[in-house]
Symmetry: C2
Amino acid sequence: MRTATIEQLAGYSTSLLAAAGADAPSAEAATWAVLHASAHGVDSHGIRLLPWYAECLRTGLANGRPDIKISQLRRAAARVDAGGGMGHIAMYRAMDEACALARDCGIGVSLVVNSTHFGAAGAYTIAAADAGFIGFVTSNSCAYVVPHGGSRPIHGTSPISLAAPNPGGHPFLLDMATSSIPWNKVLRYRTEGLTLPDGVAVDAEGNFVTDPNLATALAPAGGVDFGFKGAALAGVAEVLGGILTGMRLSSEQSREVLGDTQVGHFAMAVDPTLLMTLEAFGFRLQTYIDSFKSQPGTYAAGGPEWERKCKRDADGIPLPDGLYADLEAAAATAGIDFGL
Amino acid sequence: MRTATIEQLAGYSTSLLAAAGADAPSAEAATWAVLHASAHGVDSHGIRLLPWYAECLRTGLANGRPDIKISQLRRAAARVDAGGGMGHIAMYRAMDEACALARDCGIGVSLVVNSTHFGAAGAYTIAAADAGFIGFVTSNSCAYVVPHGGSRPIHGTSPISLAAPNPGGHPFLLDMATSSIPWNKVLRYRTEGLTLPDGVAVDAEGNFVTDPNLATALAPAGGVDFGFKGAALAGVAEVLGGILTGMRLSSEQSREVLGDTQVGHFAMAVDPTLLMTLEAFGFRLQTYIDSFKSQPGTYAAGGPEWERKCKRDADGIPLPDGLYADLEAAAATAGIDFGL
């Protein structure tokens, strides 16, 4: 299979997004975020999103030259107005601000308003962990997910992510959709004629279906028996992402792919040195992470992602034929050199 | 079936705990917490815990007369030393403090150290919501839950709870164990000769089992297909409850029923009026809650609990024969009038 290095893909991504109308900070932030996902093997939120982002910039769904405004609301809380721009640049700034507030106050939060799709939530919690803070992020998103036992979407595939710093090893990294699977998996299974696992998608009557052509919406994480827990977590994304920020509920978004607007995000940082040094915190975190080692195949959250990152750092990011063709077509549309 | 009113049970509970050695604030806080659970139909964390708490007080696992110390760490962060006492009194104080910090700073957190079992996490997030704040609580607890795909416990049934205020209706209330089911459900199914659902418990080799007599540990929430998400959330409880506070990991607790010591809790509050009035926040929250109404049988998080609370407020708290006998025996042991 074709592969590309992070550096090659970064060059492609920033050129593509700039050609589609993004200013340099927006293009670079979106590039970092998608490459975070691709490097960690989270391909649903990796470079495959770039042609969509370019399209959103061209159609004006996302403003490529946003006027991002940061204002302090209270001692430990800030508002970040994304100015209708791409969510990535707003979220990196929001997490920077949350970390600065946490350094001063112990904990800090940024509420992001007037934003759009931000890609993988883990990109921003890892940014916090790299800066020495525990990062927490959630966001609402357009509704593709039925409530547990329901037939019509209320929730987005809304993510919840938490990362914790580990100076001597890999950070703890939870980055989960509150849906069972991403909607694009349903689309891909349709194209490829595959059968879905049980408990992940429903038809228009709310029955679980495994034929992707019958699926009209996703089930919440947890499947047939535990979907009420995934749906409740999606509610947390709604409360902190959509309601607290005064933005649209997931169910009020138009259901265009990556076309969410007036989205709200919640970015929080906690200083892990409130009661100990960062090294002591990392030592205890590593003790926890190491406690999985005696049970092969089990991992602390983020374990599989770090293994994939090691492999991809060495071997490059895989570019399956379909993805390669999509990226090539996007380059042609944008009128840039493809070069991958 | 026998029933009792909240008032009757409050009298029983405070007398029982006082006779077992609890000072008045400790006895009252534990009583409020278990009655929160019983009133909302969360019977696993309701009045059935009272005989266990009395036993923990008598054996000294929990200190009935703790010296609780609150110290401010940073502008928005406090430390609450539970003094080895019952977790309930420490957590109510911690959430009060977090709300006071959030009023000033927009967000606030209390780290509780040297604590023991605190009952239902939702008792404290609802206390925050009642005070007009979004409350978030997590805690680690002794290890009964295997990692996804594993055979030996690493995580506790550790809870995650978030509540959001709603001046015009019922608060949003997520209060979930990160395990599939509580361990006491396995014990009860053994006694009653029942078969467990699939995907909730494992044997010593890590195979899913439905015979409760073969079960040696619980599976994470999410079951066979999605247990990795429950396990990752349990990791959040570990990071924020156990590691950030410098307390024991779940796997370092002794596996005695309710006998956790050196437990850490995380209590956070966010001011919902950062960008709007409390009424506007509640209006949007109610819009979200109402969006479930067109799909009968579906609920925003907390919906079933509020329905049960309405019913129990009217009909009383049910006292099945086994529970009634346990409470009666506990009264006899403590030498108090039973009176239920």
